[in-house]
Structure formats: C-alpha cells, structure tokens
C-alpha cells in the first residue's frame, strides 16, 4: 500500500515542520510591537491560527470537488472522500475558531465580536456542521450521499460570497499580506508552519481514508461470509 506509506511520511514531516514553526515562533521570529512600542505577545498565535485557517479552506474545496465527482459517477468512494474532507475541514475550522477567540480576547478585550471576518467564518462553521446534521438524518445510503454532495457544493459556493459580502463593511480583522507587512523571519516561520499544517491535513485525510477503506473491505468480507 504505497498511499498509506505516504500518509505516514507526511504525518511525520508535518509534525516536524509544525514543531519547527513552534520553536521558531518563540525563539527566532522577532516580537511584533504595537504602534506605541509595547510588545504584542499575542501575535504569536498568528503563526498557528492562520495556517490552520488556510488549511480549512483548502480541505473544504475537496468537499465540493468530490461532491461533483460523486454526482457524475455515483460511486461510493467519492462520497467517502467528500465526507472525510469535510471531517478534516470541521476539525480545522474548530481549531481556527478556538485560537481566534483566544486572540480576540487579548487584542479586542472581548471573546467574540460580530466582526465581518468572524461572522463569515462562523457561517462557514455552521455550514460544515449542517453538512453532518444532514448526513445523520437521511436513512438511505445513496440518497444521503447525493444530498450531502449537493449541499457540500452549495456550501462551498456560498462561503466565498459570505466572505466578500462583509467586505463591503469595514473590517477590523488584521489583513496579513496587505503591504509586505511581515519581516523575513516572521514570514519564514509562518510559511514553515503553513506547509507543515497542509501536510498534516493531507495525512489526516489519508489516514481517515485508509480507515474507511478498511471498513469497506471488512464489510465486503462479512457479506462474503454470509452477512
């Protein structure tokens, strides 16, 4: 099983890179400072928060991608892939939310604010959760897969619209890459963390896929042995 092997390599690499990013964050990347010269220690959350958030978007794309593949072919494997991609999305989305809330508490002195970026990300979280609520309430396997695929595609189209519509209103959420704002060590730390997180995302996806494939094989064996 070549693919399973790759998953584990990615897992180790991802772990190494994210750990490296962690060390670089605290021992190498220079502290960010407020305009009045005070140290902004909470900015360190950024080095994990953003990679996880970016990964969540990327993985969510595969929900829609495999949703389309499923509708075209009606093959169960694509439904399984779409579902696992959404699972990993949910995992990353929740992590993004949690770290974001901690950062908000420090910088804005509140746990939550109905600020455009937060609002739209909250909507995306609801869409991902809705995907699973939907799955759980459909009995027939194939119908469940079809509905989930349709909703996954809709949700993926909807998420960016939500994002941009709030941009009509002023946002206080920091925009990282606005004007070359990062010093090189900060940028490198961030990139290492980002690559590590994407590798972890890939590894999670493949590991879960391996698990589901094993389940499917077990099911087939059981049927072969007479139910």
């Amino acid at each position: 099983m070549k693919r399973g092997y790759l998953a584990e390599v990615m897992l180790v690499l991802g772990a190494v890179l994210t750990t490296a990013a962690f060390l670089m964050t605290f021992f190498w990347a220079p502290p960010s400072v407020y305009p009045d010269g005070r140290v902004d220690f909470a900015q360190k959350i950024f080095y994990f928060h953003v990679p996880v958030a970016e990964a969540s978007f990327l993985v969510f794309f595969f929900t829609a991608f495999y949703g389309v593949r499923f509708l075209m072919t009606k093959r169960k494997e694509f439904d399984v892939k779409a579902r696992i991609a959404t699972e990993v999305t949910l995992f990353f989305v929740l992590l993004t939310m949690a770290t974001g809330i901690l950062w908000t508490r420090v910088e804005w002195n509140v746990w939550w604010q109905w600020e455009p970026r937060l609002t739209t990300y909250f909507i995306m979280t609801l869409l991902v959760i809705g995907y699973f609520v939907l799955r759980n309430s459909v009995e027939d396997e194939e119908r469940r897969a079809t509905y989930a695929a349709a909703f996954g595609i809709l949700a993926f189209i909807d998420a960016p619209i939500s994002f941009f519509i709030t941009r009509v209103v002023q946002s206080t959420h920091p925009v990282v890459f606005k004007s070359g704002g990062l010093e090189p060590p900060m940028l490198v730390t961030f990139i290492v963390g980002q690559i590590g997180m994407l590798m972890l995302g890939y590894a999670f996806y493949q590991l879960r896929l391996k698990e589901e494939e094993l389940k499917e094989r077990l099911e087939a064996l059981k049927i072969g042995l007479g139910g």
């Binding site: 902004d40 901690l102 420090v106 590991l207 391996k210």
Partner: protein, 58 residues
C-alpha cells in the same frame, strides 16, 4: 526588561492556551485514528481466520 515582562505576562496564558489546544487536538486526532485502525486490523484478522476455516471445511 521588567517592562517587557509586564506586557507579556498578562497575554501569555492566552497564547499558551491557544498552542496547547492545537497540540492536544492534533495529537488526539492522530491517536484516535490509529486506535481505530488497530481495532479494524484485529477485526480483519478474525474474519480472515474464519474465512480460512471455511475454506478448509469446504
């Protein structure tokens, strides 16, 4: 130095929480998947043995 600490210390718990949360969640995810994979492997063995027994009987 004193000055820097006075700024960092109130923010530190949140940063530590954020990182701890991520690490624990990532580890938890991996551990869970591996545990389930092991359990499935065990099931697979059971079924394969059953299959072999049946083949011998047949």
């Amino acid at each position: 130095m004193q000055d820097i600490y006075s700024q960092v210390i109130p923010q530190a718990p949140y940063v530590i929480w954020a990182y701890a949360l991520i690490w624990v969640s990532l580890l938890g995810f991996v551990a869970m998947v591996f545990a389930r994979l092991r359990r499935l492997d065990k099931q697979m063995q059971v079924l394969e043995e059953a299959l072999k027994r049946r083949e011998q009987q047949a």
